[in-house]
């Protein structure tokens, strides 16, 4: 009982002691260094197995100044888009021998700031970020660029960031497709329910959307445009307001799918026929869009493709240390998925 706390001896020094070799040799043997005799290599491997040796990554990281760990910060892990993107990134990183530390900011800039600090303290080899909806000051990310650690933004990105790579969906195009599609299917009074313009996402979708209306010669109706947090309740509220007016919309574009579903349910509950009286287009192609009846037209963002691109660019950066990218920002195309709601 008076034995020291340590439950089991399993370091390189223990192997060394057991084999009467130096730690240096053990290290070399375990790392398949060519100039260690096959005989010793085998002895070491055996003893390592016997003692249940596992490399201590902290010691390794400290010594080598490299952790083989990538940090990731997203607003919410549960959003379909991110869940999908994360899965791809993690798998591709794992294949390449990297680990991924995932954190969520819960859309709080304060939390995001703390997480960035923590990530730096853990000395991740790179940081991947999709920002908070409300992040307007991006200075907390500078620790990374200042210290020469790769920083990649994706999806929700700053307008510009010196030394960082930016990868984003083609939101202008997405908004444009949505607007054009609604116009094409005959809508003339198109409502637009958007998120706050503080984020690049919604700014770009809006611009694309309005451009489409302009091209189609459809006027923007002042009180049919909303910029607000895209929650279910907010959207219901907006719908209520619009349908209390004399002139009612015959089409709605919502800048995410939760809002589209809110519109959908509002319509059903109020006996508004979709798509006959009201057409709906959402954004993100959440699986719920395909399940609800009538199913909802939405803009697919290819989260897996984006995640994959993030990793391939990152690997490129980590390989060549030849500074920043070839092309920046990078834009991933989107696609309109037509369904029964239009």
């Amino acid at each position: 009982m008076s034995k020291t706390r340590k439950s089991q001896e399993n370091t390189i020094l223990d192997i060394a002691a057991a084999l009467k070799l130096s730690p240096a040799t053990i290290s070399r043997a375990l790392n398949n260094n060519p100039n260690v005799r096959p005989a010793t290599r085998k002895k070491v491997a055996d003893m390592a197995g016997q003692l249940g040796y596992r490399r201590n990554n902290m010691a390794l990281g400290l010594r080598n100044n490299k952790t083989h760990t990538i940090g990731l910060i997203v607003p919410r892990i549960s959003m379909f888009f991110h869940a999908e993107a994360i899965t791809t990134m993690q798998n591709e990183l794992y294949e390449r021998g990297y680990n991924l530390i995932i954190s969520q900011s819960n859309d709080s800039p304060e939390m995001e700031r703390r997480l960035v600090d923590t990530m730096y303290s853990s000395r991740v080899d790179a940081l991947i970020v999709s920002c908070t909806l409300n992040t307007e000051d991006f200075s907390h990310f500078e620790v990374f660029t200042k210290n020469g650690i790769p920083l990649i933004f994706y999806d929700r990105v700053p307008p510009a960031f010196d030394g960082a790579l930016i990868i984003r969906g083609d939101d202008f195009q997405g908004g444009n497709l949505a607007g054009a599609h609604l116009a094409e299917t005959g809508c003339r009074r198109i409502a637009y329910i958007s998120g706050p313009l503080s984020t690049n996402l919604y700014r770009d979708r809006s611009q694309g959307f309005f451009k489409a209306l302009e091209v189609a010669g459809i006027p923007v109706i002042e009180n049919m445009v909303f910029y607000q947090a895209l929650t279910y309740d907010n959207t219901r509220e907006a719908m209520k307001k619009m349908f209390a007016q004399d002139v009612k919309p015959d089409g709605v574009f919502t800048a995410n799918d939760t809002a589209a579903i809110a519109v959908h349910e509002f319509a059903r509950e109020n006996g508004i026929a979709v798509p006959q009286q009201l057409k709906i287009v959402g954004y993100s192609n959440d699986p719920r869009c395909a399940i609800i009846r009538p199913s909802i037209t939405s803009v697919e963002q290819f989260p897996g493709k984006m995640g994959s691109r993030v990793i391939s660019e990152l690997m490129h950066i980590l390989g060549d240390s030849t500074g920043t990218a070839l092309k920046n920002p990078i834009t991933i195309p989107v696609q309109l998925i037509r369904r029964m709601s239009t």
Copy 2:
């Protein structure tokens, strides 16, 4: 340009040098050790800010043999249940000053094994796991118990594991509620589409379900029971088989919600009225159940509550090192959410 690679000097030694103090004092000052003069404390804090100092967690972990990091392994991050549980766990851990490393096994036992090793190499302070569907050999988790590092299984758990804490939903009760509910609403030929019995989840749900039938005096119909991977396609296949027979089911219990949705869509496409001709009960209360029409009755597992419990138990274990728990396994109650499908 011939300057050494290191982009910026920012260790405790640099602060020490700048202030002509010893690293020991700097360390104390930064950690609010009571016996360092307020004046020096302030000088140190200022200089730390000026140099952009950030603590190196690897050095810290190596020295203190404590990483303040908890490992988590789940089959898939994108499953609603896990996304929800993870979010709760991460938030509660973060409040308590811990970080969370999340990894997904993609339901591959091989991958799971590798992840466990990696987690150990990173010397996490504890490991939380929801196993693969196919994990039958649990020996790879023994590194943790053998080395006295807390190990907690939740949701998909081994039948028993010496030295680990097990927290699970009340799957027997869930299956039982589902069966009883279908019986109560008048079903007499109840089909059961389950996952493979290799997992505790499905074993327990099955037992609860069959018990309910037995109590209600409803016979189990041989060819209306399926044990298979609970995918959309498999379920459609099963439905097709059953409805090709003379005697057709008037109720279905599926052991997850994806399967319930498959049943639902099969019914719609084949003109089977839900709930009049066929009643459906799913499992997990995925948000899709509430959105689809008619909405689907399902068993709520309270993922947030389970995540929360995992963390509170973990904190207890990390606090007192008084070995394993008071009560083990721990069971979290479930609840049947009635909707239009029954």
